[in-house]
Amino acid sequence: MSTAAAPVGPAEAVAAPAPEERKRGWTGYLLLAPAMLWLLVFFIIPMVSLVSTSLYDPSGSLETGYSMTGHIANYVDTLSEYSKQFIRSIIYAGIATLACLLLGYPLAYAIAFKAGRWKNLMLVAVIAPFFTSFLIRTLSWQLILGDQAWVADILRGIGLLGEEGHLMATPLAVVTGITYNFLPFMVLPLYASLEKIDPRLHEAGADLYASPFTTFRKVTVPLSMPGVVAGTLLTFIPAAGDYINAQLLGNPQTTMIGNVIQNLFDGGSYPEAAALSVTLMAAIVVMVLVYINRAGTEELV
């Protein structure tokens, strides 16, 4: 470059930047275009379509068409009618997220610091369930928790479960299913942030006469907070909208908001279903914002 540009005079050098700058500006937009197109096709259009569907007059039908009347009442109606399922979804997702954190933290910790040469194998074991379908994995919980299966038999034997008690089709089964299905989403971000911690910090803690627990509390936990925040979000958000677990492992009293939305769509009540979807999305966004604010973590992801 520099050799080719050697004979350029000072006058030319001053004139040159203008067209080049303009050119660079265009390139920037051109490079942005695929991303913008992607956003337009897969985010903006579906969003506009969803929000506007939620404002249709619900007295329409597929035959007659729906008219756009800005029917805000859809939101009020669905929220009051299905508030029970809404709250239930949040509670189930919350419990499952907590369970994931309690199960996932020791696991991620073990993989990051204690696994040694087994590290890669353990990571693969965490990811391996993804090699089979979500549906198959949930269905297999039906077998594990079945009334005639050994788990229920043993629990009955030691008196933890009544003579007529069962595990399947209970809230416990639904939360267990959600916890299992979303555990990897918790473990992986936790592992990523734990793995970044310099082990010498632990040694330093010991050198300064901190007990292992104090080191864990004062050093490891604060440094792993980005992982905790990312993991809880990645678990909670899809869990709150999940409907497969409630469908396959639950009973009529454990219906979650995802099931309601699916049933409404199936039954042809599109405006109501859309309104409920938007409400769920908005509720999650608000909860996430509050949570991130409280957790005070800037470097998410």
Partner: protein
């Protein structure tokens, strides 16, 4: 620029994306596309999509089609192909082959692509409603839907009128009781594939006989161990029966009473689950000991597990059919009619019934069955007599809007 064939599953994420967009734009999967055409298509389709995106902001048009507006051409003379969408396990299978269908292909030279992509009436409807509502091809020449959904699709004008001159067997052999339903007089748009009964199934290994719906819903030893069908017409039909109403014709008050009854049953904790076809596994294992069930499923289960029993409840039983229809813009209507005609040959119908075990809508199949499987002759669940069918009922045929209201009320209860 080299022309390259894009595999349906794509070889890179970018290709998949481009392909998806190209498909939305209407380019076929099999066609060879250069990257430039794909990109150009992507640009145009993004524009097209965005305009529909903004358009939906102003509401949607009605989707009823009429014969004059939505014309279909028939290329059956030149194209010997047929795409058929049906429910899973609904045709005779031998390994990966379908013997009766193979014979049809040999006889006629028509190549049939058989797909089992109908799992649920509502779900299938959602899958095809955009194309059919806009008078576009769905790529299917025959699909099979249950009475009430067939009625809905036909009333939307989404199916082609059938030419009965091509189907002499259907006219000659279709059982009397199915030949003239209120929603498709004279079977102009549909031909029954199989019929079935909704009744009660129980696992004799875990419980005694269950004879009536009343018993199913109240017996204390069944608490938390029964399932009902999430098919609204089936389950609410029984609720209407239990509250003394006629499922075929009921008033608003009677409907409300039946809903209250349903609510009461759900609140009592008697019902563990509301299911589609998926009640068979829990029933087999004993998680569910008794349930509302479809006749053909139960007979099929009995081959592996003789403890499974099917009962026609004392309250009566619900009779339904699944119907073959030719959607608008299908280009192989004559081929489709040939297929319908073929399956109304009593011999073929008997071979089919011996495998699927649902009620055979073809007269003369029972006689033909004698040479295939003697044990099935006289089986009331495959060849019911008119006495057997005396206590059957069907759910009222209502317009889409009312149906939607019913579905919503029912779903609100079964979803607690």
């Amino acid at each position: 620029m080299t022309r390259r064939r894009i595999h349906p599953n794509g070889d890179s994420a970018a290709d998949r994306l481009a392909l998806q967009i190209a498909q939305t734009f209407g380019a076929g999967t099999g066609r060879a596309l250069s990257r430039r055409t794909v990109l150009r298509g992507a640009g145009v389709s993004a524009l097209a999509l965005s305009s529909t995106g903004w358009l939906t902001a102003c509401g949607t048009e009605g989707t009823v089609q009429t014969k004059d507006e939505c014309k279909s051409t028939d290329k059956s003379d030149t194209e010997k192909t047929l795409n058929w969408s049906n429910w899973p396990l609904y045709i005779d299978e031998k390994g990966k082959k379908y013997p009766t269908l193979e014979d049809f292909q040999k006889q006629t030279g028509i190549k049939v692509t058989y797909t089992t992509d109908v799992n649920d009436n509502n779900e299938f409807f959602a899958k095809v409603r955009n194309q059919l509502g806009a008078c576009d091809s769905t790529g299917r020449d025959i699909f099979v839907l249950t009475d009430w959904m067939a009625a809905r699709v036909i009333s939307l004008g989404w199916t082609q009128e059938l030419d009965h001159a091509n189907m002499p067997n259907v006219d000659a052999n279709l059982v009397e009781s199915l030949s003239n339903p209120a929603w498709d007089e004279g079977r102009k748009h549909s031909v029954p594939w199989q019929s079935g009964l909704t009744g009660i199934a129980y696992n004799a290994k875990y419980t005694g006989e269950v004879t009536s719906f009343e018993e199913l819903l109240t017996r204390p030893d069944l608490k938390g161990k029964i399932s009902l069908l999430s098919e609204m017409g089936d389950t609410m039909g029984f609720m209407l029966k239990l509250t003394g109403a006629d499922p075929a014709k009921f008033s608003e008050d009677e409907w409300q009473a039946a809903l209250d009854k349903m609510q009461q049953v759900v609140d009592s904790g008697q019902v563990r689950q509301f299911t589609g076809n998926d009640y068979t596994r829990p029933l087999n294992k004993g998680d569910i000991v008794a349930c509302e069930a479809w006749s053909g499923d139960v007979i099929a289960m009995q081959y592996d597990n003789p403890d499974i029993k099917f009962v026609l409840p004392e309250e009566g039983t619900s009779l339904w059919s699944d119907n073959m229809m030719v959607p608008n813009k299908s280009e192989h209507k004559t081929n489709a009619e040939k297929l319908m005609n073929y399956y109304y040959d009593p011999e073929v119908a008997a071979r089919l019934a011996a495998w699927v075990n649902y009620i055979c809508p073809v007269q003369g199949a029972e006689e033909a069955m004698a040479s295939i499987d003697e044990s099935l002759v006289g089986n009331p669940l495959i060849f019911p007599t008119s006495e057997d069918l005396a206590t059957t009922f069907a759910f009222a045929n209502v317009d889409t809007k009312t149906r939607e209201e019913y579905d919503k009320a029912f779903n609100a209860i079964i979803g607690a």
